[in-house]
């Protein structure tokens, strides 16, 4: 991999009280790379991805994003977070705003983009995910899959350099999983750097450049989808895959 490093994680530790969730993680995410994180529940996957944009404050360690340790003092975290999009399991769309406003609120407030420009961009994004006819609806009128597609373009409207997906399809009805995965696939194909925590093994296998297997607060094994899924080395990986595949 010769491309630029976008996120570098050094000795990341996260405790919740007496509970040691992350026990020292070192990892590098390169520009344009699609990295999936798999592993059993409670392995620390979600905590790990939430540390990448400091939604969880690490107990210790460095999160170096585009050359800056964003876990150090005196950092304007908001500016960095604008470059790190995040999509959540439970969508977290803003229920009191229309679909269009959901997308434009952050760019107009934080990047001082004019309303017209923000609206124009938002409609382009909505077209990309097939929601342009819903632009004036409130989220309560949307299905789960539509909400998640909205959440994805809301993050894209900030023009991030990397997208984090925290179990983006886990709260969806089965028939809606595909429409969301297709959007993520399109982003990945277009060169967006993606980090995806997922339980969709087939999806992880098909979309990823690299798969990380996490268990017990550390990355137990890392490799290409072929290595991880066809020829896992770590006994824990083997055991996990034998349960889910």
């Amino acid at each position: 991999m010769t491309k630029d490093i976008i996120i570098q994680v050094e000795d990341l530790v996260k405790d919740f009280g007496d509970l040691h969730v992350l026990k020292g993680i070192n990892e590098v995410i390169h520009q344009g790379e699609v990295v999936s994180i798999i592993g059993p529940s409670g392995s620390g996957k979600s905590t790990f991805i939430r540390c990448l944009n400091l939604l969880e404050k690490p107990t210790s360690g460095k999160i170096i994003f585009e050359g800056v340790d964003i876990n150090s003092k005196g950092i304007n975290l908001d500016l960095h977070r604008q470059k790190i999009g995040m999509v959540f399991q439970h969508f977290n769309v803003f229920p009191h705003l229309t679909v269009l406003q959901n997308i434009t609120i952050a760019p107009t407030l934080e990047k001082k983009i004019s309303k017209e420009e923000a609206n124009k961009k938002a409609i382009e994004l909505l077209k990309m995910v097939g929601l342009e006819d819903k632009k004036d609806e409130y989220p309560r009128k949307l299905s789960g899959g539509q909400k998640q597609r909205l959440a994805i373009v809301r993050a894209l409207a900030m023009e991030p350099d990397v997208m984090l997906f925290d179990e983006p399809t886990s709260a969806l009805d089965p028939e809606m999983v595909k429409e969301v995965l297709n959007v993520i696939k399109k982003l990945a194909d277009d060169g967006m750097t993606c980090v995806i925590v997922t339980h969709e093994m087939a999806f992880a296998k098909s979309i990823s450049d690299r798969v990380l297997f996490m268990d017990d607060g550390i990355i137990q094994e890392s490799g290409t989808p072929l290595q991880i899924f066809e020829n896992p080395q770590n006994p824990r990986t083997i055991e996990f895959l034998s349960k889910v595949l």
Binding site: H96, R154, M158
Partner: protein
């Protein structure tokens, strides 16, 4: 002369007096809840602050006010403050009573506001912050507009509570509904009739307001 009159007669004969009392009560409750809300908001944010000292002081304030009777607070304001601070000796008694009621209400309202804000799904805060929105913008544009739905009906209930609580101000002869009863008792020797009239007016007003709050609650929950 008074004891032979029927309730209806007393009500009709002294209608303006009762209405004046009711207006006094509504005014007192409104001023109390209005300023209680303003100070209560400040207290609520101070309680959610990450500075431990502010947190502690504000929490103590809320606990003390909620843990002592409102009548004691009224007496402290009414008797002690003018004694302790001579600069206040020219201030009308009305404002000491209002001050005590506002202080009392602010503690309760701060809890209403805090619960309203914390009742908003924490995923909303995370989503907004992950977009790079500042804490201030997130609060003003994402959290508070949603919290208002939890807060408004509870504030309505606080207003209804205050309509009843302000009757304690009659101890200090402040113009409000309960005081009307005292006036009629001392001036016309009417004891029991005004009591029931006053009770009925309180009930009608609070019942009507209660229905309004319920309507508001239903309206607000529709848009979820």
């Amino acid at each position: 002369m008074g004891s032979s009159q029927t309730i209806l007669e007393v009500f009709i004969n002294n209608f303006p007096l009762f209405m004046q009392g009711l207006m006094g009560t509504l005014q007192l409750a409104f001023i109390t809840v209005l300023f209680g809300t303003i100070f209560g908001s400040v207290i609520a944010f101070a309680r959610m602050s990450k500075f431990k000292l502010i947190n502690f002081v504000v929490q103590a304030y809320v606990e003390i006010i909620r843990g002592t009777p409102i009548l004691v607070q009224l007496y402290i304001f009414y008797l002690f403050l003018p004694m302790a601070f001579s600069a206040l000796s020219n201030v009308s008694e009305y404002w000491f009573v209002v001050g005590a009621l506002i202080m009392n209400s602010s503690a309760y309202v701060s809890e209403i506001i805090r619960a309203g804000i914390q009742g908003v799904d924490k995923g909303q805060m995370e989503a907004a912050r992950s977009l790079g929105m500042s804490y201030k913008n997130t609060m003003l544009r994402i959290i508070l507009p949603q919290a208002v739905k939890n807060i408004l009906p509870a504030l309505g209930n606080e207003f209804i509570m205050m309509i009843k609580e302000t009757s304690l101000a009659s101890v200090f002869f402040i113009n409000e509904l309960m005081c009307t009863q005292k006036i009629l008792q001392s001036s016309q020797y009417l004891v029991w009739q005004p009591l029931f009239i006053v009770a009925a007016i309180y009930f009608v007003v609070t019942y009507a307001l209660n229905q309004l709050v319920k309507l508001l609650e239903r309206r607000l929950s529709v848009s979820d």
